[in-house]
């Protein structure tokens, strides 16, 4: 059901319309359906607030998907851990606040798309987000539309389709963005910056300056410092990592990372 590509990433099976898939033609087909059933039931439990039941259903991923089990065992980013930790903190790719923007059938459809996103089935997730938009865009609030655009653009970037992502980030960029008050606005700035390589750092600096949330400011400062560090503009990197230290307490992982960068810069 998943194959390992030459460069280490694992890709999901995508059915070829010219083939028939069943248990006779495909040895893992039954297991694949079992995995999907459990994953969807876990999502239902999550939506009903039964988090521990939802996590029990996720066990099917660990049992059936050997590639994911290896990652989970090693505590590396995996579908199982991503969903489990997400359920426990009341979120999927959408934060708690973003999930609250959707109601009823919109929510059900969105949750299906989110499940696919969190399992890194990018193409399926994009199609599922499109279905939410096609069937209910008219009935969605501006903030819900903002999240939907952000999620679609994110999935497209992860799928390597950056050109297609640009039309979904339009509401988050420019001098007077439509989505400036949406909960997704600040996290979308990382995406907007990633899509505009030439202006990546200036977009993030502007976001840093405009953002009034301390933790958000720290996230922007970290990313800006990393960008300067990776192009070996060390004085600029030094300045931004020092800013990170100012915005975060010493036990914060970003503070610790900034300290490590500053130590590394001293040695370069």
């Amino acid at each position: 059901m998943r194959s390992v590509r030459g460069w280490g990433n694992v890709e999901w099976f995508r059915p070829d319309p010219s083939h028939i898939y069943n248990r006779s033609t495909c040895p893992w087909h039954t297991e694949y359906l079992t995995l999907l059933s459990h994953a969807h039931r876990s999502l239902c439990y999550f939506l009903h607030g039964k988090v521990e039941d939802a996590i029990i259903d996720l066990d099917a991923i660990a049992k059936i998907d050997a590639a994911d089990a290896v990652l989970t065992q090693a505590n590396q980013p995996s579908n199982y851990l991503r969903l489990r930790d997400g359920y426990r903190s009341g979120r999927l790719y959408a934060t708690k606040e973003e999930l609250r923007l959707f109601r009823g059938k919109q929510m059900t459809k969105l949750a299906q798309a989110e499940l696919l996103f969190e399992m890194e089935r990018w193409e399926d997730a994009i199609a599922a987000y499109d279905r939410v938009a096609d069937t209910s865009m008219g009935g969605l609030s501006l903030n819900a539309k903002a999240y939907l655009d952000f999620a679609r653009a994110s999935a497209l970037v992860f799928a390597g389709k950056k050109d297609l992502a640009l039309k979904f980030t339009a509401g988050f960029s420019g001098s007077n963005p439509d989505y400036i008050n949406a909960p997704s606005y600040w996290r979308a700035q990382f995406l907007v910056a990633n899509l505009d390589r030439e202006n990546e750092s200036s977009i993030l600096v502007a976001a840093y300056q405009a953002c009034e949330i301390q933790s958000g400011k720290a996230d922007f400062a970290v990313k800006i410092g990393q960008i300067y560090f990776s192009v070996r503009d060390l004085p600029a990197a030094l300045k931004w990592f020092a800013i990170v230290q100012k915005h975060t307490p010493p036990h914060d992982y970003r503070h610790q990372a900034a300290t490590r960068y500053l130590r590394l810069i001293d040695h370069l």
Binding site: V4, R5, G6, W7, G8, N9, T72, Q73, A74, N75, Q76, P77, S78, L81, R82, D85, G86, E120, A153, S154, V157, F158, G160, K162, R187, F190, L191, N194, R197, D219, F220, V222, K223, Q226, I227, F229, S230, V231, R232, Y253, R254, H255, Q256, A257, R260, Y261, R263, L264, H267, L268
Partner: protein, 376 residues
């Protein structure tokens, strides 16, 4: 696409190497598709990776497809530097991957060839499990513990690490699993447990509680024959706070003389508090040392006082207090470490008796009161 066995052409350290922060390098086009595993890293660690050119490669560009704040950053042209921070919720991130184009001498027309890279790490953390659940139903991964409480330590993923503790005992000092025992005598309110793996340290801080007090729960009133002036009860001693387990300690009471006597008891001196664990009315030679219990509530105390038939009401008003009298036992209570029998004073618990004019007798202990009316 076939899977290649990858080789790192060069893995060089920065001019002054810092443990755990070396920068591996891959060269395009020797390594067209690579996947690098950094191994265990802590939250707050940074990963660095360089991508350079093999001889014959004329230009190289690279980028990261990453829509989020977490995951990889970097790219550009020439020698490509990538960097990443391990967040605490690393297992839940979408990591991003890097890729790019390159050219080489003599390459023909058409789109430039691509290269792709992936890199990962394992977030290393301490997993701690207390021997007992706390009586308030807290989970066993709590970071508040009672004195002498045991905690099993592991790492996730499982690694052979070196363990150390700022106070309390830890054994073994190296390995995949260790037991930390919270100190019996505290040198401070917290203890820091550290696991070290290949120069990286992960710590967890525990707040340690001595017993703060005892709450009582009356289990039973004691019966006495008619005509006796007496009162007594069996009371469960519940050690506080309930957010930790005192399953690592014992407790016992010591002898004391009566104090604060008034009225009847200032004329007729009350008896001393004696240790009578078998309730036979005789003074035991040794104190009755009892396990506080994993639920902090295994000690059952029998508290009573009997004047018997020798004194009968009415108890005259001799000092203007309305008759009767009162006295206290301020009972020295000690705690002990279950394993080492190390011993220390805990508190003087007041057991108070009040006798009324008409023979009604009250006893109070651990904030529980028993009242018995006199029956001729």
């Amino acid at each position: 696409m076939h899977i290649r066995i990858l080789t790192i052409l060069s893995c060089f350290l920065l001019s002054n190497p810092i443990i755990g922060e070396e920068t591996p390098r891959y060269n395009i086009d020797s390594d067209l598709n690579f996947s690098h595993d950094f191994g265990p890293r802590l939250a707050g660690s940074i990963l660095n990776l360089d991508v350079g050119r093999s001889p014959g490669v004329t230009h190289l560009t690279g980028w990261v497809d990453n829509a989020s704040s977490a995951g990889w950053t970097g790219g550009g042209s020439g020698l490509l530097h990538y960097t990443c921070i391990i967040p605490p919720d690393y297992a839940g991130v979408h990591n991003g991957k890097f890729s790019g184009n390159y050219g080489r001498n003599g390459s023909g027309g058409g789109p430039p060839p691509e290269w792709h890279g992936a890199a990962k790490a394992v977030a290393f953390k301490i997993v701690h499990t207390t021997e007992f659940q706390s009586p308030d139903g807290g989970t066993s991964d709590r970071t508040e513990v009672g004195i002498s409480e045991r905690v099993t330590l592991r790492t996730e993923p499982e690694l052979a690490v070196t363990w150390s503790a700022s106070q309390g005992g830890i054994a073994p000092l190296a390995g995949t699993v260790a037991i930390w025992k919270a100190p019996f005598i505290l040198s401070g309110p917290t203890a820091t447990i550290t696991a070290e793996f290949q120069g990286q340290r992960q710590s967890v801080e525990f707040r340690i509680f001595s017993p703060l007090g005892i709450d009582g729960e009356k289990l039973q009133s004691l019966n006495f024959p008619n005509g006796h002036v007496a009162v007594g009860m069996r009371v469960k001693a519940i050690f506080q706070p309930l957010s930790v387990s005192f399953g690592g300690i014992n407790a016992y009471e010591k002898f004391c003389e009566p104090s604060d006597s008034t009225g009847f008891f200032s004329r007729i001196a009350p008896q001393n508090h004696i240790i009578d664990s078998d309730n036979d009315g005789e003074h035991d030679a040794e104190p009755s040392i009892q396990w506080v219990g994993e639920d902090n509530a295994q000690i059952i105390d029998t508290a009573f006082y009997a004047l018997g038939r020798f004194y009968q009401p009415p108890f005259a008003n001799t000092d203007g207090l309305g008759g009767g009298g009162a006295f206290n036992w301020r009972i020295p209570t000690h705690v002990q470490d279950v394993d080492t029998a190390a011993d220390r004073f805990f508190l003087n618990f007041v057991q108070r008796f009040i006798l009324f004019f008409d023979g009604e007798f009250h006893i109070s202990k651990y904030a529980v009161t028993e009242r018995r009316r006199y029956v001729p």
